[in-house]
Symmetry: C2
Subunit: 226 residues, 2 copies
């Protein structure tokens, strides 16, 4: 059967980029390309770089003792990932779509004198990261799976939504399991929540990973639990 909507957005997700601030420093940033599925670093790796995402999306995860996996965050264009604690990375990080990342040396995280610009940049990144993580808690704190899912889609809408006439196109770079592990749900429940949003005409799907947000306000109201 055919999908409800067809379209051509005219550009692919990999074309969403951010401008990387140009800095004149002792240790100039280096751009790196990685394919979907490749790792940027592992949990407990000694941290040599932090990475700013220029294009593509990465996944930050923690492995649990019982084998389960918690998705801590997704790294979208503009985000900085890999900030270490005690000199080591605190999560796994792998690309879920082809990525361009800019690597910044973080050996001198604790030496602000040596490169004030870099330090300022890293501090800004850390503070932003804290706020994003706090935002994530509000999502997990929502009671119903439908609310959690709506809140997640609202996040995607704001971060990687692309205008499409009166609507907004959201290409989901992650699969249902990733979303489930991010929200503390099962893939089946995420699927049902998305089906419900489709039934309510809040969103439409062209294929499982290509979503059109039809009713912005309804999505935000659901996300807020109102």
């Amino acid at each position: 059967m055919h999908s409800a909507l067809h379209f051509d957005a005219g550009r692919t997700q990999s074309e969403i980029r951010v401008r990387i601030p140009r800095r004149r420093t002792l240790s100039d940033p280096v751009t790196r390309r990685i394919q979907a599925g490749q790792h940027l670093f592992h949990e407990r790796d000694s941290a040599h770089f932090v990475y700013q995402i220029a294009s593509g999306v990465v996944r930050l995860t923690r492995l649990q003792k019982d084998g389960r996996r918690q998705v801590i965050a997704f790294g979208f264009p503009g985000d900085v990932v890999g900030l270490p604690a005690d000199g080591r990375h605190t999560t796994e990080c792998d690309a879920i779509s082809p990525c361009e990342v800019v690597a910044h040396r973080c050996a001198n995280l604790m030496q602000p004198e040596r490169d004030p610009d870099l330090h300022r940049f890293l501090m800004q990144s850390a503070l932003d990261d804290i706020r994003f993580l706090q935002d994530h808690f509000l999502m997990l704190g929502r009671r119903l799976a439908l609310e959690k899912t709506a809140a997640f889609l609202e996040l995607l809408l704001d971060r990687i939504g692309e205008p499409l006439g009166a609507y907004t196109l959201v290409r989901l770079p992650m699969n249902r399991s990733d979303i489930a592990d991010y929200l503390g749900l099962t893939p089946e429940t995420v699927s049902r929540a998305i089906t419900e949003l489709r039934t309510r005409k809040v969103v439409a799907l062209d294929d499982a990973n290509t979503m059109i947000v039809l009713d912005d306000d309804a999505l935000r109201e659901l996300a807020d639990g109102t």
Copy 2:
């Protein structure tokens, strides 16, 4: 009816303190005392200070549009709270027990040159904070209320446990609603989980806020879901 255990720990929670690192800077830290229930700052307040907890416990919360409240974190002795984003605090912060806090100016968060020591300190705090927040996700990601609660008590055990013979005493500074809002549960469910832990002889309660951890290993196994 009488409780199962009686004891005298010989010191109160307010006596748990941390040594504040002495720094010679342009803007020396200032100690402040606040009572339980008093606010340190509000969400969106313009941020002038960050606070390191010397004694006592504070609660960091976000208010939701629907009136619900998410507890983002508890600030224990040694923790730094109030790191801003865009110059503003991102949470509410109030004391849930009498506190001594050390206020550090954060006006120059983005001026590492002016006070490298302070900047180093703030960076360290931010990176630690990120790790703590990530740890929190693993707690919320646990499937069962019993596992979440066990994970939370394990955290308290490690942060504010006091040796008591062969066992460990944990004085809970927060009430059941606080725990519930931290774990994404209801107070009733938290209460039932604690009752279950009592039934299994993992912990004993002298009163609702005074817990003795009887079986460390069992608690950690439950928390890990194994």
